[in-house]
């Protein structure tokens, strides 16, 4: 019995995705935020790949009508990175302002601007008293984004 199975396995071409990180990245680029989060939990390698900020940058601005200017990236990176931007601002903004998450809608420039402004406020709040970033401080002014909508 065992011999048969092993023979079958050898006949099939093996593609082990972890050998092809670039393909993995391409696939992950096309995922939505939640799936990307799930993917990050698969294994250590995937977690490292998913942590790559450029993936999240792609996610943030995937639906923007025109690509954001190049000056945006250093600012966002300095303020905490695209992953944080997505988690804290983009995702709630999209879900509140947009239709259901399945419908892909195009961001307007104003929405991008608003998200970035809120992100900046978030960074400022986390600065705390001495100018040091306290990582455990919750960005309270943005909590209104994360809280469920009250009927």
């Amino acid at each position: 019995m065992k011999l048969n199975i092993m023979e079958e396995e050898e006949e099939r071409p093996k593609i082990f995705i972890n050998d092809h990180i670039d393909i993995l990245v391409e696939i992950l680029k096309r995922l939505d935020g939640q799936s990307l989060g799930v993917a990050a939990c698969v294994c250590r390698l995937w977690s490292a790949v998913a942590r790559n900020d450029s993936l999240w940058e792609h996610l943030c601005f995937r639906h923007v009508s025109s690509p954001p200017p190049s000056s945006v990236r250093p600012v966002v990176v300095a303020l905490g990175g695209y992953k944080r931007l997505y988690m804290v601002c983009v995702r709630p903004v999209l879900s509140r302002l947009g239709d259901s998450g399945l419908v892909r809608r195009v961001w307007t420039r104003n929405e991008v601007q608003l998200s970035l402004s809120l992100f900046c406020v978030d960074y400022y709040e986390r600065l705390g008293g001495s100018g040091m970033i306290s990582s455990d401080a919750s960005p309270s002014s943005l909590m209104f984004l994360c809280k469920p909508v009250n009927v």
């Binding site: 970035l116 400022y124 002014s141």
Partner: protein
């Protein structure tokens, strides 16, 4: 003087059923009174079963007729408990001997504690509850029962105290409030307090909250408060609150009290304040909070109690932070003002913002980020923050400056900061600010909820506006409350502010959760205290409407600058993000943006430039 937040109200109101249930459980476990109101309390099954078990055994018939089931054998125990209770009640009220004497005066400076003690009484200890669960004991002679039951209904004093019906048997006095209360209340013109006849009000009237047992109704007729509790309540085991009636009554009481204060009829006002506090308990949510704040403000005005020192700055900052986080008003103000400033600074290489309302500097990160990302790169950004002196030794203006500098470095914006401490904006002079020539540096002046404070001193606002003109700004952004709380007549101010803050509190109700919301309410409550309780230079919350500010700016030599559609769009988007924010509305009014709740505009952002100078034009 921090207002005790009316949370105690909540805690005692709801679990009355539970409390009395627990009480009857415990009392059942003990030896004495196995007494229960006829009303079935929706509680633990075990307790219920225990109830039913004892229900038929030896009930007193007279009371059974009235709807109470008492075991005759337990009467003595109940009577004893009532005695204890009366003692307990008397001890807490200093000036109350027999609960049936003269006008009660309370230590005016201790209003909060008094209120608190009143409230804690409504959260009574277990023995109290078991007594409350007890129907009136038959006393010694059955006829007395009937008589006393009927008496209140016939009594013409609205303020007869009904607490507890049982007590009437103890001492045959019907607890009547002092006659002065009576006359005071009757003196109200148009019977604003009394509507309709005795009987009518008895049927509609209920200070009771939704009780699930008839007994809990008794808890609310606290003797010392001039409650109208005309009829005999014991025949009505279920009393549902008609809160809309009470809401109307509450508003009437508030207006009557304000009127009394205006006419300097302080005795009447005092009586009314107590009623207001009591009526407020029957309301829920925003109305209760507003009423309680206004009642306390009126009380402060009556007793002339108001803290001389303004709130410690760090405390007021903290309150404002919570207000910032809970509701969109401040964010709206900041975002719209920033948009105007951004547009005015288009193409400028060096910009200078003078902020009259520095506080925590929450407005500037967003502007700096927008400047950093603008096409053509960021300008050199200079910020001058003006704030009041801090009572502790900390230099909070500098701290804010450091944080902003840190942010500026992160996003690569050239940043310069100066903090200015001034007791009042009127102390400022343009020369102090070290302004650079206008070809080098463009100036914007920003004021969020600060200008109205200048109206308490004559001439101050004119001076400040002329100083602003001297600064030669490209744009002046002003955010103010959209209300007239600065009229000469106290009653008008009171009415206006009542409507305004009711709307404001309504909008807060939709926001989620605990501490932030409470702090925001305290923040607004402090404003209420100032508007209602203070006069003269102490009263600095002198809000005026957009139209009034337009006139002022116009006569000072400013021309309106229209806020563009970008600002409108950003504001609308921002509001859409807020939880429970369906009621917020952005309106445009001749180039100014107003944020309101449903139909009522609450704050207004406007932008101004020097008259005769076009934005962006070269001379």
């Amino acid at each position: 003087m921090k207002r005790e937040h009316p949370n105690p109200h909540h805690t005692h109101l709801n679990p009355l059923a539970d409390a009395s249930m627990a009480a009857s459980c415990s009392s059942g476990a003990g030896s004495s009174a196995g007494v229960y109101p006829k009303q079935e309390i929706a509680a633990g099954k075990a307790a219920k079963m225990w109830e039913e078990e004892h229900q038929e055994a030896g009930m007193d018939e007279l009371l059974a007729v009235l709807g109470y089931k008492v075991r005759s054998s337990d009467m003595a125990g109940v009577a004893q408990k009532l005695e204890q209770l009366e003692e307990a009640m008397c001890i807490q009220q200093d000036n109350l001997s027999q609960l049936a004497s003269d006008t009660v005066h309370y230590n005016p400076s201790d209003l909060s504690t008094w209120l608190e003690s009143m409230l804690s009484e409504l959260n009574p200890p277990t023995s109290f509850d078991s007594v409350m669960a007890a129907p009136p004991p038959p006393a010694q002679n059955p006829p007395t029962i009937d008589e006393s039951f009927l008496a209140p209904a016939e009594s013409s004093t609205i303020t007869s105290i009904d607490f507890p019906d049982q007590k009437k048997h103890q001492s045959s006095t019907v607890f009547e409030e002092s006659s002065s209360f009576d006359s005071d209340l009757k003196a109200i013109p148009g019977k604003a307090i009394y509507s309709g006849t005795q009987l009518e009000s008895s049927s509609r009237e209920s200070k009771r909250l939704k009780p699930s047992s008839g007994s809990s109704s008794d808890l609310f007729s606290i003797p010392s408060i001039g409650a109208f509790n005309p009829a005999n309540e014991s025949s009505r085991p279920v009393i549902l609150v008609d809160s809309q009636e009470n809401g109307i009554r509450l508003v009437h009481a508030l207006m009557a009290c304000a009127d009394a204060v205006q006419q300097n009829n302080l005795d009447l006002a005092e009586a009314l304040v107590k009623q207001i506090n009591y009526l407020a308990l029957s309301q829920a949510g925003a109305m209760r909070k507003v009423a309680t704040f206004f009642a306390q403000a009126l009380a402060r005005r009556i007793y002339r109690v108001y803290p001389e020192n303004p709130l410690d700055h760090s405390l007021s900052d903290m309150l404002q932070m919570h207000f910032y986080e809970t509701c969109p008003y401040l964010k709206f103000a900041h975002f719209t003002a920033n948009q105007a400033i951004l547009e005015a600074f288009q193409g400028k290489k060096r910009v200078h913002v003078i902020d009259f309302s520095m506080n925590q500097g929450m407005q500037w990160p967003a502007l700096m980020q927008a400047l950093a990302l603008r096409p053509g790169g960021p300008p050199a950004f200079r910020l001058t923050g003006i704030g009041p002196p801090s009572t502790d030794n900390s230099d909070h203006l500098q701290e804010v400056g450091w944080k902003l500098a840190q942010l500026a470095e992160t996003i690569h914006v050239e940043f310069e900061y100066r903090g200015f401490v001034a007791n009042s904006l009127a102390d400022l002079d343009a020369s102090m600010l070290e302004l650079r020539p206008s070809e080098v540096e463009s100036v914007a002046v920003n004021s969020v909820f600060e200008l109205h404070k200048l109206l308490s001193r004559p001439g101050a606002i004119e001076k400040v506006l002329s100083v602003v003109k001297q600064m030669g700004p490209e744009i002046v952004t002003v955010v103010e409350q959209e209300a007239n709380h600065n009229g000469p007549v106290f009653l008008d101010r009171f009415t206006e502010s009542l409507h305004y803050y009711s709307t404001l509190f309504d909008s807060l109700e939709g926001s989620v959760n605990g501490q932030d919301k409470v702090m925001s309410e305290v923040y607004l409550g402090n404003q209420i205290f100032n508007v209602v309780a203070c006069e003269g230079t102490d009263r600095f919350e002198r809000h005026e409407t957009l139209a009034q500010w337009r006139t002022r700016f116009g006569s000072a030599g400013f021309a309106p600058a229209h806020l563009g559609s970008n600002a409108f769009k950003q504001a609308s988007m921002l509001l859409a993000l807020f939880a429970g924010g369906d009621g917020y509305r952005v309106e445009e009014n001749n180039g100014c943006l107003l944020l309101g709740w449903h139909t009522r505009p609450l704050i207004a952002t406007s932008a101004w430039q020097l008259a005769g100078k076009k934005l962006g034009a070269t001379h």
